[in-house]
Symmetry: C2
Subunit: 660 residues, 2 copies
């Protein structure tokens, strides 16, 4: 089932939109298809006389101010907040930012601004396609392909962002490299690269500026690279019998507009073309206090940094920033019912703006489902009371919101999981195809040099790389003013009054400034976001604890350009005071950006974060040294982290959960 709102004909929708405070008027509701049209028409009208291309790179909701959002959430029957859109276009080789008002269903420009800093906006899907097309039609390129004895009709391309390597801004052009792959006899093109040949395309002019025909590479065999079931021959893996999840009475969540209620949780669920799923204004109902209590104002991916570790000519620049360069939302793929999400899932469509400003529908862009994996929420068997059998068990049923983003070869399965106990679990699962590099080696024994990865098949190296994912988590724990506390677990010697010599205890440190919050834990520490103004009945500060995810130490030199741009992995944990404009761990304009507006610079302001509205940023990381078991498609590898209530409740909030 698609999200119901998209089934309402446009006229009805217009009516809803313009005349009554509709149920879908949450301030963070994504722009509707109609709103996208209004916004982009409004912006286009500013550029009637330009000779060059006008391309839309971002169209999304302009967040209202936080106090306004919070008052609306406190009283959702009040009139909807004025809706505004934020737009980034490229025109006249400049990056233009607009804020467009949508008052009364009409577009009007509230502000416009030409961005002067380093870096360029997110690539559009269409310009990537055009850059490929320009290359494939370039006669010298065709000749180069023919020279290799390859068939031009079997050549496909992919546009690669190229990072920044110290050039002055005046010399930094908005260019990509197009690399080529061979689809003859396999769809697994990532393992059939045509190396030694590349084009450079200027995206603003949409012209090929360079063709490099460096060398003729080996073409690995296509045999064994296919992953489509339709191509497989026996023997097959022994099949297991069907296992079905069903909910005879339907799901327990209620979706109104983009607002979701499930069990004790209420939250807003949205989708953004840059980051994908956004969870906001999430609160949990406290049955003891008999009220909803705020937990998360906004949570989303901020950036995903993927540096490859081959420094040679054709690979060194592959150091992607997937959210800012390619768009985690616009690259979300349609989820396949029953497979990408289980049979009890509800699917949601989303809209984003195409390059020309027209709305593009992403079908099944995300899904939501209740999960029961056989796990236990809490239990105890009591054996100490003679003659009594005491056993209480509660099953763990949680709510999952999933989106899958595919950036070229890699598939990222991105889950939010909400538990009734108040825990929020975020996880990232990596699958898809590894990026193969061709080699003349067919056997490991021939390899006498650094190959920057592993020989995963004859003529194919899986190249070493990392994935660093930074989440932006604007926690508002029972209110906006929060503090970040490090609870350091320290060893102490005893006074000798018992035979015990030592113990550990907690030394709590309330972190006052941004720079002191930056952390890569090497000593035992618990990380709490607390509300110092709210205490439990026995006087503990209410809070949530971060149970960190896989933390990978970055291994690039500090002075290396990719590391400057990707400094989000310098620390695993960062805390900043809330500032509506600070959402981007790698900077807002990361394509070819100079890394001059990252979390490093943001936190160098060293602002107060004590008893303030603060944002937690958590970077999780995976070093990936490929293995053959991942050829030709990778079994999923999962990592994640938890935000867990810690003295948030006076007692176990699911104590009074009845067993079904």
């Amino acid at each position: 089932m698609a999200h119901p709102i998209f089934k309402i004909p446009i006229l009805v929708f217009l009516f809803l939109f313009t005349s009554i405070p509709s149920i879908s008027s949450h301030p963070f509701d994504p722009l509707s298809s109609l709103e996208i049209q209004i916004v982009t028409s409004t912006v286009k009208s500013k550029f009637t006389n330009i000779a060059q291309r006008l391309t839309f790179h971002y169209v999304g909701i302009e967040d209202p101010n936080k106090p306004d959002v919070l008052s609306w959430v406190a009283n959702p029957r009040s009139p909807p907040l004025p809706r505004q859109a934020f737009v980034v276009v490229r025109a006249n080789k400049q990056t233009h930012e607009f804020i467009v008002s949508l008052a009364n269903g009409k577009g009007s420009i509230v502000s416009e601004h030409v961005y002067q800093g380093t870096g360029f906006p997110t690539l559009t899907l269409q310009e990537q396609e055009e850059a490929i097309e320009v290359s494939l039609k370039h006669q010298p390129f065709i000749s180069s392909i023919e020279k290799r004895g390859l068939n031009i009709s079997d050549v496909v391309g992919s546009a690669f962002s190229i990072g920044w390597y110290g050039e002055a801004q005046s010399e930094t052009k908005r260019i990509v490299k197009v690399l080529f792959f061979y689809k003859e006899s396999t769809v697994n093109v990532w393992l059939r690269p045509i190396e030694g040949i590349e084009t450079t395309v200027d995206l603003d002019d949409m012209v090929l500026t360079e063709l490099k025909d460096i060398h003729v590479s080996v073409m690995p065999k296509s045999e064994g690279t296919e992953y489509q079931a339709s191509t497989m021959r026996p023997p097959f893996l022994a099949e297991t019998k069907p296992i079905l999840v069903n909910q005879p009475h339907g799901p327990s969540f209620v979706v109104r507009g983009h607002t979701v209620s499930w069990a004790n949780w209420d939250f807003h669920l949205s989708f953004d073309m840059r980051v994908g799923v956004v969870i906001s204004t999430a609160s949990i109902y406290d049955i003891d206090q008999q009220k909803k209590r705020q937990v998360l104002y906004r949570g989303q991916i901020s950036e995903l940094f993927v540096p490859y570790q081959d420094p040679t000519e054709e690979w060194y620049y592959r150091t992607f920033m997937d959210a800012g360069e390619f768009g985690m939302g616009s690259s979300a793929v349609a989820l396949e019912p029953h497979h990408d999400c289980p049979s009890n899932a509800m699917f949601f469509d989303a809209y984003h703006a195409g390059q020309d400003g027209t709305p593009v529908k992403l079908e099944n862009a995300y899904c939501m489902f209740e999960k029961y994996a056989g796990d236990i929420a809490w239990r105890h068997t009591e054996a100490v009371i003679p003659g009594e059998l005491i056993r209480e068990v509660r099953r763990e049923v949680s709510l999952v919101i999933r989106t899958i983003t595919v950036i070229g070869n890699y598939d990222y399965i991105l889950d939010w999981e909400l538990k009734k106990c108040g825990t929020i679990k975020l996880s990232v699962s990596l699958t898809g195809i590894m990026e193969g590099k061709t080699t003349t080696y067919k056997h490991e024994s021939e390899v006498k040099e650094e190959i920057y990865g592993l020989l995963v098949a004859p003529n194919t190296i899986g190249i070493n790389h990392d994935h660093f994912i930074t989440y932006y988590l604007d926690l508002d724990i029972d209110g906006q003013e929060n503090s970040f506390q490090k609870l350091k677990l320290k060893s102490f010697r005893t006074d000798g009054s018992t035979p015990r010599k030592s113990y550990w205890s907690v030394v709590s440190e309330e972190v006052k400034k941004e720079l002191d919050a930056r952390l890569r834990p090497t000593e035992p520490v618990e990380l709490h976001i607390v509300n110092p103004n709210k205490k439990t009945a026995v006087g503990n500060k209410v809070g949530y604890r971060l149970i960190p995810g896989p933390m990978a130490i970055p291994l690039l030199s500090e002075d290396d350009y990719p590391q400057i741009r990707g400094s989000l992995c310098d620390y695993d944990i960062w805390v900043t005071p809330y500032n509506k404009s600070e959402k981007w761990a790698g900077g807002m304009y990361v394509d070819r950006g100079h890394g001059d507006k990252t979390l490093t610079q943001i936190t160098e302001q060293n602002r107060d974060i004590n008893n303030k509205d603060i944002v937690l940023w958590h970077t999780i990381g995976f070093h990936h040294h490929p293995s053959q078991d991942e050829f030709p498609i990778m079994p999923t590898l999962t990592g994640g982290f938890e935000l867990r209530p810690t003295n948030f409740f006076d007692r176990n909030p699911i104590l009074k959960m009845r067993s079904p």
Copy 2:
């Protein structure tokens, strides 16, 4: 459904046992009820004239020699191996070890030995109960209870092992402390301790040797401590609608005796009174090689060390070694169908020996079920090929084996999960009741001293503690001779031929000796167990990788007695050459042991581990600083680790898994 074998009447079983090579004759099959009877009768016949108690502390299978087991597994139609039992009894204040042969269905003693080292065997459940009873009937104790205005009939006790604090072995008696709790108006006795009063009981003599009546403690209110649904009053947490897992055609696993086949896995599933579930002789079918390949000879918990962090008089000694002191198997609780394991689970009973040698049946001691949590085994959507929609998704269905051990207040949910891709995932989930300490404080603002934990309710402190769990993993990767490799990820500077300045690469180190294998990773490293004698077609060593679990740095002083006994947490990773007698990370006899036969001493032999039959030991840890959300019963906290094939297969072993 119970395990079928237990439904066969004894005569039939006898027939099976004595006359034909039965399907249940795997060398690691646990002792049957009948075998336990034969074994214990045989041992009892040696002690006909003793004046004192004869107590059975361990009765289990004596592992045959590994080469014999492996040849049997290679040819399971060959005659069963001779069956032997290993027995530990306490008699005449001595620890006796026996090996008893079960040839021809008769018991005969193969060897006997009086253990002379430090430490005592696992406590029996019965002697713990007797120690409590002796205390509760002790008149001065009753007077002490009455003095407090408490009702003796509402007092329950629990026996606490007391560790070792430097006494000479000659002075180390087999004693426990009995602590008391009040069951008036709540079953949650752990939060209603009667502190200030304790007894000491000599278990060999079963006499109370000391009553300490130190002070009269506060009794926290019972209100709010109950967790039984039957006691709850509204409001309840909003209920979610039913979610059902079912398998219309039944489960996909086949159980023959104690041998399990599921998907591409074959393994033996057993249960031991000291450690609980044991997975052994596990192999995976390789569809490319068209044969079964060995992965794990034996995997089990070795020890679970739980030091509390309150060094004061009544708490300092609480530094439990749950496997060796209490028995993780004998303390396994009956699993509740539909709740502890999902509706599609199969349940298995187990037998262990009671203190007097009679078989004790543990109903539903462990369960096995197929799990589908909505996860994805692998997927890819290919967007780079114009005009084609390519999307392949495979669902993740895995096999879980679960047991739950309750040691007093704590419930440990212990899962083994086998995946079709070859991954073995082990997880530990902690729930149950925290150990409460009484205090006069009712509010945090009154606390001006170290309380060694957190005030979780008025008059109740949750005491800081750790859980360190060591797994014994005798991996045999495609054969017995294996090596342990550290793949260190190191930063390198480039030669400057491209604008890139740095990259990381893998520097592989084959670890030669035990001492060099001990590791607490602080630098990026991949940990592989490889078979250096077997290579993939392109020449990589076949292997498995450990993706470590939560690693907690121990915080006790090195010279502190609990740390000496619990040195298993000095490192997260240890590797030893296989030796049938080396299974116990904390030593074989840990109750009151001196920590003189732990992994520390085992590895100090510094034997060769390169291209040898080796064992991986992995310690995962949790520092637990309690929180109010865990009162009066703890929402589950889970941690785990993975063993993942890494160049074990020539390619993705589930590539040819069909989508259902």
